[in-house]
C-alpha cells in the first residue's frame, strides 16, 4: 500500500473513531484536559504503527487496537505520576456537559449514583464497562482491546455489572 493510500486510510480511521477514543480517555482519566492529551498521544502512536497494524489486522476492525493504545498510554500516565487519576469524574460537571436537560430531569441522582459506582470498581471492570456502554463495543472487541479471551471478557463484564449493582443498592439503602 502506498503512502498516500495509507495516509488516507488513517485519516478515515481517525474521523471514524475520534469520539470513541476521546470518550474512552475521558471516562478513564476523569477530566477533559488529560483526555485531550491522551487522545492526541493515542493518534500519534497509532499513526506511527498504522502500516503494521493494517498488515496484521487481517481485515478486522482497528477500533480495539486504538483503544488498546489509549489503555496502555493511560496506564503509563498513571505510572509516571505514581498515582491514580488525579481527578475522579466530577459528577456535577460531567452530568452538565454530557447529558441533556431532559436526561437530568428524569434522573440526575440515579445517574450520579451510577457514575460514582463505576468509579469505585477495580480498573479492569471499570474499563470493560466503559468500552461496552460508552463505546458500544461487543465482547470480542473488548477482549481484543484488553488482551483477554472472549470468555474471560464475558465473565469480567458480568462480574462488573454484579458488583456495580451491589454498590448502587448499598448507596440507595444508605440514602
Amino acid at each position: 500500500m502506498d503512502k498516500a493510500t495509507l495516509d488516507r486510510e488513517f485519516s478515515d480511521l481517525y474521523r471514524a473513531h475520534l469520539k470513541d477514543v476521546y470518550s474512552y480517555a475521558y471516562y478513564r482519566v476523569g477530566n477533559h484536559h488529560d483526555a485531550e492529551d491522551l487522545t492526541e498521544q493515542t493518534f500519534l502512536q497509532a499513526y506511527r504503527h498504522f502500516e503494521r497494524a493494517v498488515a496484521e489486522s487481517d481485515g478486522r476492525p482497528l477500533r480495539p487496537w486504538l483503544i488498546r493504545i489509549a489503555h496502555n498510554l493511560a496506564a503509563n500516565l498513571y505510572r509516571d505520576r505514581s498515582r491514580k487519576p488525579q481527578t475522579p469524574i466530577d459528577d456535577t460537571q460531567h452530568l452538565r456537559t454530557v447529558h441533556t436537560t431532559e436526561d437530568l430531569v428524569e434522573g440526575r441522582d440515579e445517574l450520579a449514583r451510577i457514575l460514582e459506582g463505576v468509579q469505585q470498581l477495580p480498573d479492569d471492570r471499570r474499563e470493560a464497562l466503559i468500552m461496552r456502554f460508552a463505546l458500544g463495543m461487543d465482547n470480542r472487541e473488548i477482549a481484543r482491546a484488553m488482551g483477554r479471551t472472549d470468555g474471560a471478557t464475558k465473565v469480567l463484564i458480568h462480574r462488573a455489572i454484579k458488583q456495580l449493582e451491589q454498590i448502587v443498592q448499598t448507596q440507595g439503602a444508605a440514602a
Partner: protein, 125 residues
C-alpha cells in the same frame, strides 16, 4: 407481602442506566480541529517549526544543533507523513519547552533541538 417488597432492594435496569450514564463524550471542537489539521493537511505546523528553526540558525547553528542535524531533518521532513510526525511531536512538546525556556531565543533553540531529535527518531525507525 407488601412489607417484603418494601424491604427488598430496589430493582433497577442497571444496563439501561449505564447506557445513559456513560454516554459517548464529544471531543472539544478545538481538539477535533487541531488533530484534523495536523493529521491531514499537516502544513501549518511544519512551516511554524521550520520558521523557528531559521530564526535560531541566524546565530551559530553549531552552538545548538550538530552538523548532521539539518540534513537529517531535511530528509526526514521531506515526505508529508514524516513532516506530519515531526511537526506533531514537536508541537506536542511546546508547552514543556516554553516552561523551560529563559527567553524567546532559548525557546527557539529548544525547538530546533526538538525538531532534530524527532527527525533522527524517524530516520532510525
Amino acid at each position: 407481602m407488601a412489607d417484603r417488597a418494601r424491604n427488598e432492594p430496589e430493582s433497577i435496569d442497571l444496563e439501561a442506566m449505564l447506557r445513559r450514564a456513560l454516554k459517548p463524550v464529544d471531543p472539544p471542537e478545538d481538539l477535533a480541529a487541531r488533530l484534523d489539521e495536523t493529521l491531514t493537511s499537516l502544513t501549518d505546523l511544519v512551516a511554524e517549526e521550520l520558521e523557528a528553526w531559521e530564526l535560531a540558525a541566524i546565530g551559530d547553528p553549531r552552538r545548538w544543533v550538530d552538523g548532521l542535524a539539518r540534513p537529517a531533518v531535511a530528509a526526514a521532513v521531506g515526505g508529508a507523513a514524516g513532516a506530519a510526525l515531526v511537526a506533531l511531536r514537536v508541537h506536542q512538546g511546546r508547552g514543556r519547552r516554553k516552561a523551560r525556556a529563559n527567553d524567546p531565543l532559548d525557546y527557539a533553540e529548544q525547538t530546533v533541538r526538538a525538531v532534530a531529535d524527532e527527525a533522527r527518531k524517524l530516520l532510525d525507525r
